[in-house]
Symmetry: C2
Subunit: 277 residues, 2 copies
Amino acid sequence: MTPARERTEITDPDDPRIAEFRHIRERDLTGREGRFVAEGTVVLRMLAAAHGAGRGIRAEKILLLRNRAAGLADILSLFPADVPVYEAEAPVIDAIAGFHLHRGVLALGVRDAAPPLMELLRALPDDALVLAACGISNHDNIGAMFRNAAAFGASAVVLDETCCDPLYRKALRVSVGSVLTMPFAREGSILDMLGALAEAGFAIWALSPKGETEIRDIAPSPRLALVMGTEGEGLPPAVLSRFHTARIAQSPDLDSLNVGTASGIALYSAAMAKRIL
Amino acid sequence: MTPARERTEITDPDDPRIAEFRHIRERDLTGREGRFVAEGTVVLRMLAAAHGAGRGIRAEKILLLRNRAAGLADILSLFPADVPVYEAEAPVIDAIAGFHLHRGVLALGVRDAAPPLMELLRALPDDALVLAACGISNHDNIGAMFRNAAAFGASAVVLDETCCDPLYRKALRVSVGSVLTMPFAREGSILDMLGALAEAGFAIWALSPKGETEIRDIAPSPRLALVMGTEGEGLPPAVLSRFHTARIAQSPDLDSLNVGTASGIALYSAAMAKRIL
């Protein structure tokens, strides 16, 4: 039996101890000293797993709806004792967070600066699948890409500087917490990023509706990277002309697939080709 | 040169001519006499294509942000002259619709009662791919499933009575308007629905993480139906025990895939097996 975790009651929405949670819908903490907000029990559990696992991710504080706290004892026991747990009644939580939190589970975390891309790539195994992305600014899509990368056994996600930060609250939630456990880097231009992948021995496949090879027929390589662009413009011509290109066959009279779904199909195909799963 | 479409200016948010658009975020018109709200230029174009195409879908009225109207002349000309077009300045639009409409493009449509399932199935070609779903209540997921069904050449989508209405505003938007062009039915229990599909000659493949056959290896059949359940509970045991089952290989230590993404992978695999694309 896990001993019940000590919790501190918050009765004043303006209590400075939970100031970071105030109005989280209107602002976003990401980019401010690497802090991020985790929502919901699944993401809280992933945060517990990431905390202290050597990935540079730590939990700072937890805020719970009072009637959720008892049911979370197992997860709370995974956090070290110096991570404070606050609880509050529903009206106080609503006043703090600026909207009705259906899940009543919030945590504040901090991530050290992401590792430099070259360092990340060096640390990957000789046999690795990597998902790369260019220009993905939609939080749902970034979250979906991390969720899919985790589901299909990718070793890392690498983003160019024009992608949004995957630690945004909504991206983190849509990823079902995978952003906290999947190694990632976000830096530089797409061409510099792909150059670094090539130098590290990755076969690079850029996805495009006009790609040369159907995605389920791509050749397996020990190190293989899939590159996704935006739904509207796709990848820049300079990328498509320099690397292998792959397509996902689809009806010609439609907008392209959602990029999150396309990443799922591409990762599934690559994982099957590489016999990861 | 298309003659400019006549537009009527609205200056009073309480004008009865645009009453149906008021507070659309808080309420949902679907289920009230078959009415639905279409948002954005892409969905407006799909509504124009569906209007009068014999699918029982009609546009009733259009409401535009004034500075968007001129740029939409081409799409507006696709609607018959008896579909009124209203326009208003941004503060009026905001007051009408209850939130800031970034796209400034709204239409009200009406759909006749969906065709009975048996009638829908009889009208399908001898060679057909159908996406079936059980218990999908999330609007994003329903929308994603329609988008994927359209992208991979499915002939219809069939939903059991526990799925949400795909004409909900957000489902329609996420589907990029495919709900308006893809034949669908929504009625009865999942077992009745699958019984009707079997009777109509469909080979039925129920998706489950524990399915027998890897999805990319399923046998092609002239008439083939894929069945998706919810992310949490999955399909009922009575479905999994009576029909073929297929799995999408994935990392064992994770939640299952998002059901929208899973439908994309399953439809892609089936479309490739059936050489639809």
